[in-house]
Amino acid sequence: MKYTPTVGEILQAKGVSRRGFLKYCATTASLLALPPSMIPRIAAALENARRPSVIWLSFQECTGCTESLTRSASPTVEGLIFDAISLDYHHTLQAASGEQAEAARHAAMEENDGGYLVLVDGSIPMGNPGFSTIAGVSNHDMLMETVAGAAAVVSIGSCAAFGGIPGANPNPTGAVAVSDLVKDKPIINVPGCPPIPMVMTAVLTQFLTFGQLPEVDKLGRPLAFFGKTIHDRCYRRPFYEQGKFAESFDDEGAKAGWCLYKLGCKGPTTYNACATVKWNSGTSFPIESGHPCLGCSEPNFWDKGGFYQPISTGHFGSGAKLAGAAAAGVALGVAAAAAGRRRQAKFTKEA
């Protein structure tokens, strides 16, 4: 295996001061949702960490996940690529193409056998191998060949994690998720359409810092970011409790910033960190901009009825009870959210 410098050595070579390093560690702790008291431990671990080789495979996707990552503010994508990881293969970002690109992938696999990370965005078509190929190789074959020597796989975005939009009804390509095919490697799902850039970098940073993948929920998502619903952390939650709802996008409730539940907000059944991590360098998130959450980090979000139908009247059927609870607000509000989540769990199980 070739010599890979530690992060400490890389930063030292770049003339980054100890103060700069401590700042990096502080923002890393923040990124990993770890308490600031962990900063010394992160500093000690990072100093001696060796950056892992990363191979990024793009299958049936729209490049939105890469677009999202390249707008990650913490750390910058340049920092991530050059300091924290060795990104050895990525169709869109790499300069090489054709045979040279494929040679780079094979070289990274050989040199880092058993220790590299595979990041996948996009689902895999199983209907006909010709639906999506790279260098004449089907997505399925490239995935299985590449993960064989990997330490772990990270499914980036809802397509790789759950099938996503290519897998939406009627699923013309027979799209499946990475976890439907890869059974013998640890898989972390980082869903979202696209995922929050900081969550993607946090998973990589956690692996880099502690040499292990983060704790996950039953759908394989990092608990630090997917442990609570959007609704749980939404600043508009008090309006839900008070029964104050926007009824249309231009009514007085909308202008007052009231809860968007009745306009189809999927926050109560969607696990993600948008409400605290936010988007566009922490500027805002959809609800803050006056739009309901679409639930894009949940399985089959595209097939769950209309985006502007309340959870209670959408796919889940028994709408009257849930809508009634929402209208009543206050104590019933919490029960409604819980009921929605139970239905969500049932739907996920059935899917």
């Binding site: 980054v16 001061s17 100890r18 103060r19 700069g20 401590l22 700042k23 990096y24 502080a26 923002t27 702790a29 923040s30 949702a33 308490p35 600031p36 008291s37 503010a73 913490s74 750390p75 910058t76 920092g79 952390r233 939404c234 600043y235 508009r236 008090p238 309006f239 909308a254 202008k255 007052a256 910033g257 009231w258 409400a275 605290t276 991590v277 360098s281 922490g282 805002s284 803050e288 006056g290």
Partner: protein, 130 residues
């Protein structure tokens, strides 16, 4: 281009987060004075409503000491009007905020000269004199 502030949406004030954080700051000051234990509050993990962070910053105000750190982007470190309560903002090289903290301490650790940097500086100075 029209400013986003010009859009006629007035979010009803809730002020749900400012008061609990200020209470936490008081407890942190107690801990500093009685047990000599500093506290760092990471403001990134809290679900602030629009305007609440500005309200918190305005409530704490600007004290008599401010410093700017230029390492992997700029950082602003300033004491608030409440001595021992520091507002710290880290930015990356693109000037985007990557971390925002309240530190309750006598001097934030990041302001102290670090031994590794002191050693490197001494070596540089010796080299210059050779």
């Amino acid at each position: 281009m029209t400013s986003i502030d010009a859009i006629g949406v007035q979010v009803e004030a809730m002020h749900g987060n400012v008061r609990p954080i200020l209470n936490e700051v008081i407890h942190a000051i107690d801990r500093l004075l009685e047990e000599d234990i500093p506290t760092t509050i990471d403001l990134a993990g809290l679900p602030f409503a629009p305007g609440e962070l500005d309200e918190l910053e305005a409530t704490l105000g600007t004290g008599e000491l401010a410093a700017q750190l230029d390492a992997l982007g700029n950082s602003r470190i300033r004491e608030t009007t409440y001595p021992g309560v520091w507002w710290i903002e880290h930015r990356n090289v693109h000037d985007e905020i990557v971390g925002r903290y309240l530190e309750v301490t006598r001097v934030p650790e990041i302001l102290s000269s670090q031994d590794a940097d002191i050693c490197a500086g001494r070596a540089r100075l010796r080299e210059q004199l050779e």
